[in-house]
Amino acid sequence: MRKLISSITVFLLGGILLTTFFTMPEGAKELSDYYISSGVVDTGAINLITAILFDYRGFDTLGEATVIFAAACTLAFLVPKQKVHMLSARFSVIVQQSISFILPFLFVIGMYLIFYGHLSPGGGFTGGVVLASIVILTTITFGISYSDRQVRPRVKSLLESFGAIGFVIFGLFGIFAGGAFLANGQAGFDLGIPGELTSSGLIPYINFMTGLKVAAGLSIMFTSLIKEE
């Protein structure tokens, strides 16, 4: 009975969705045409997605970082933190040696993705997740007590708060320079030559702060999930 009602509901939903998709009107795209034609001049970043995320819609990105912060806080409150539980899996020497061989390269990839975010695909979120995966791989392979000794939980929460506060402070620079909050080119910062590493004003610094914040937040989430009463 329950499956019958569910099937009827799902078929109705599918019909509505498909008719909506196939009769969707082709809207006017003035805003994206403006971004494509003058995005490089306005922001100095040749990757338009980074230009939208960290310049035109930087306030949205601040909200997204707040969501990650709230999720990490909720996880840390939900899961008790008295006793630390080791994973039941034991790995051989080959796994441990190859993981410790991979880790420096992962660090380089993460930093490359963060600092070249305005020139190539990548950015603060991707690089931050790659940096968080270093902590996660260490935790899975060597156990959580070793991982907590290498990167202390106090350091992780400090890095997360540093990233969040740094993002807001770089946003306030725009107000001090005479523009709006999170303003970059409008406030008169030097945009440099598009395509070079030190171009596009404040975008690389905001990228770095977001990367720190995402890396610390996701590793805090993982270590909170792994703990047990």
């Binding site: 329950r2 499956k3 569910s6 099937s7 509901t9 799902v10 078929f11 939903l13 599918g14 969705l17 498909l18 998709f21 196939f22 795209k29 805003l31 994206s32 971004y35 494509i36 995005g39 490089v40 040749i46 990757n47 338009l48 997605i49 939208i52 995320l53 819609r57 949205d60 990105t61 997204e64 969501v67 990650i68 999720a71 990490a72 909720t74 996880l75 939900l78 899961v79 190539s120 695909p121 950015g123 979120f125 997740v129 395509g195 995402v214 937040g217 996701l218 989430m221 909170s224 999930l225 009463e229």
Partner: protein, 111 residues
């Protein structure tokens, strides 16, 4: 493009059916993940233009795909990962209290 729209509709239906009929909590989270991926595929498909290149304006581009839906999709993926982590933490708490993942038994225990 039409085939992508059809696949998005089918995937949303699969995820919705999973949420409605399965009684396992982890299966419900998987259904929510499938719906989320389908919506991201819809956003990316809306941004695509035939013959367009990726929105990185290095040199020598003629037609560029729409960058706004891609930026929205990027935001959605990261938020989806953190909400998934929150759902899994709630599942761990439910399991440590009721020792089951079945939705019906949890409802019976509440009385």
């Amino acid at each position: 493009m039409n085939s992508i729209y059809a696949v998005v509709g089918i995937l949303i239906c699969i995820g919705f059916y999973t949420i409605l009929t399965k009684t396992n909590l982890i299966k419900m989270v998987i259904g929510i993940n499938i719906i989320e991926s389908a919506v991201i595929l819809l956003l990316v498909a809306l941004s695509y233009k035939p013959g367009g290149s990726a929105p990185i304006l290095d040199k020598g581009y003629e037609l560029v795909v729409d960058p706004i839906p891609q930026a929205l999709a990027l935001t959605a993926i990261v938020i989806g990962a953190s909400t998934t982590a929150m759902m899994l933490a709630l599942i761990i708490k439910i399991f440590s209290k009721h020792h089951t993942l079945d939705v019906r038994e949890i409802r019976n225990l509440r009385g």
